[in-house]
């Protein structure tokens, strides 16, 4: 066992995979700077900066994956994937189906996601539900260094496209770049257990589509992903002080959902609270309710999500994104209301 930061863990796992498989290349905006440690080890043929042309280079990465490479394509922030959406929605996600399963697209799209540092509504979105909505795309959102490395490895081994999202509050270099910029005068609510933690010496894949119970509880289960998991754990500790026993499920993968783990734990407690930093409507929180209902489980349900465009102002932003007090209030309402 050793300890690593969230971002270091991803880079370490990626380097291990790149050393094992020379079909893996990284392309995207500014990757010669952002992935400079990989550039100096694997050379510029495998770490290629692109122009700001998401439509072209994500589309090209799709076809390069079809033709034998294993590209990790980076669009910096997931908000910017909107510019390349056709490549994902109409191509990456559909080639396997269109070809009758004969042709797969082993592509990883890597991007930073999430808010909590005052950057406004075009730079702080999560969008995993929006992407998970599309059949043919897997979406992973790690919440710890161990999962960050393991899921990167799994994404690289996956035969179909995977969207890999790293939260900016967990990945130190993103938070410094987009938030602090070297300042000591700003503070962000970074979950310590997510930003740094124990990892294996040699990376092994964390299976895609497998959730993890981070905390057990009898009264309700809080289901979340990414930074939301840490907010949920913090809320669960507060709830314990009030005599409410809350379990926490870390989905780790948004699509495909681990319906079995979710239904099993919700079935036991009869109450599910979804904490989702992505938009509330037509997304992950509704999907979780659907799979539970489809499984014939009846119970109480609540959700704490982002409901509208994320405000720039820090105080408004704190209220808009799921925070501990909103989670505690919703949990109390579910159990006692």
């Amino acid at each position: 066992m050793r300890t690593k930061g969230f971002a270091d863990a991803i880079e370490d796992a990626l380097a291990q995979a790149m050393a094992d498989d020379d079909r893996i290349i990284i392309l995207g905006e500014d990757v010669h700077t952002i992935r400079r440690n990989l550039l100096v080890r694997f050379g510029k043929k495998r770490v290629m900066p692109t122009p700001i042309s998401e439509g072209a280079f994500v589309g090209a990465a799709v076809a390069a994956a079809m033709a034998g490479l294993r590209p990790v394509v980076e669009v910096m922030l997931i908000d910017f994937v909107s510019v390349a959406m056709d490549a994902l929605l109409n191509h990456a996600a559909k080639i396997a189906a269109f070809s009758g399963g004969r042709w797969r697209v082993p592509l990883v799209v890597r991007a930073a996601c999430g808010g909590g540092y005052g950057d406004g509504g075009q730079h702080e979105q999560s969008l995993w539900g929006w992407l998970g909505h599309i059949p043919g795309l897997a979406v992973v959102v790690p919440s710890t260094p161990a999962d960050a490395g393991g899921l990167m490895l799994a994404a690289l081994e996956h035969p179909d496209p995977v969207i890999y999202l790293e939260h900016k509050l967990l990945a130190d270099y993103w938070l410094d770049s987009m938030g602090a910029g070297g300042r000591k005068t700003v503070r962000y609510d970074v979950p310590a257990a997510g930003a740094r933690g124990p990892v294996e010496r040699v990376w092994r894949p964390v299976p895609i589509g497998r959730a993890l119970q981070r905390r057990t509880g009898d009264d309700l289960v809080i289901v979340s992903v990414g930074v939301g998991v840490h907010r949920a754990l913090e809320a669960a500790a507060v709830l314990a002080g009030r005599g409410i026993s809350a379990g926490v499920i870390d989905l780790r993968t948004v699509a495909p959902l681990d319906a079995e783990t979710v239904c099993e734990t919700v079935g036991r407690t009869g109450r599910m609270l979804v904490v989702d930093e992505d938009y509330r409507d037509f997304g992950l929180s509704g999907e979780l309710a659907a799979i539970v209902l489809e499984a014939g489980i009846s119970g109480k349900y609540g959700r704490v999500c982002t409901e509208g465009t994320i405000p720039y102002a820090r105080d408004l932003e704190d209220q808009a994104l799921p925070n501990v007090s909103r989670i505690v209030a919703a949990a109390v309402e579910l159990v006692e209301g």
Partner: protein, 341 residues
Amino acid sequence: MQPDLKLLYTKMLRSRFFEESVAQLWREGLISGEMHLGTGEEAIVAGVVDHLQEGDAMALDHRGTSPLLMRGVNPVLLVREFLGRADGLCSGMGGHMHLFSKQHLAASSGIVGASGPAAVGFALAALYLRPGTLAVAFFGEGATNQGMLMEAMNLAVVWRLPVLFVCKDNNWAITTESSLAIGGELVSRARGFGMPAVEVDGRDVLAVWHAAREATDRARAGDGPTFIHARCHHLEGHFLGFQLLRIVRPPFIEALATTGPLLRSALRRRGAPLRDRLEGVEMIVRLILRTYKEDSAARRTDPLVRARRQLELEPAELAALEEEVAHQVREVIELATRPAA
């Protein structure tokens, strides 16, 4: 019609002092996330915005502060927006990358290239609703590789729209130099769409002003769009706290923090042959050296210094003007940072 250089210089100075004060608020931590300044772009912005009239529209990128200020947006509202206050220009909802003033038909976007389609739409509305008015799109050279901007340029030509496409070319898309990202040459690229395109020195406000005069005349006369390519430097790099500048500027803490992991990774077992690794190292070294060189070039070619020289005022007169503008900006900051009533 001839430019009023003193007025242009005053606008540039005001924008510079204003953004320097914003930078100070950012350093103090009163502005949380990113902050992209337009320091170094003032000659381009002043030279273009000076021609705008009632009913003209502006499509802005992530450096909208300077154009809005020069267009006449209340600077107190801008500062309050950056501070995330409910009494800011956009109620604290937008922040510096998403500034909107409906009254001035001015809209920003943090998505690179988005000002192209926006200007086309504003120009289309101008054609129907406000004949004789026009739309300006401000963007960096990095945006010229974005499909939506190229498509917008074509659309403006085939619809003969009153648009000024103003490219503020600082040679860097964040940390990617144009030589790695731009094929061909931008003026010819624009001409390839069938629109007149001019190259001007973006550090020379008079040169920009004259180019923009011709372009706005053409647009207002119904003769379609123009592409203006203006080179500049950014005094603070891509944004405040820009990592590359932290590497090349004292106290060099960032340089030390970056070097360790870089060397360790370059020496790791398994990976590319030595030659490829050295090429990678060379790429980083070149990036840092270029940053260092351009940082000093930016200071030498400051558009304000150029304009001041062209102005030929007595030193005492210049000093008085500077003090007056500085005083105005101090008053704005003081008023804007006062607690809400």
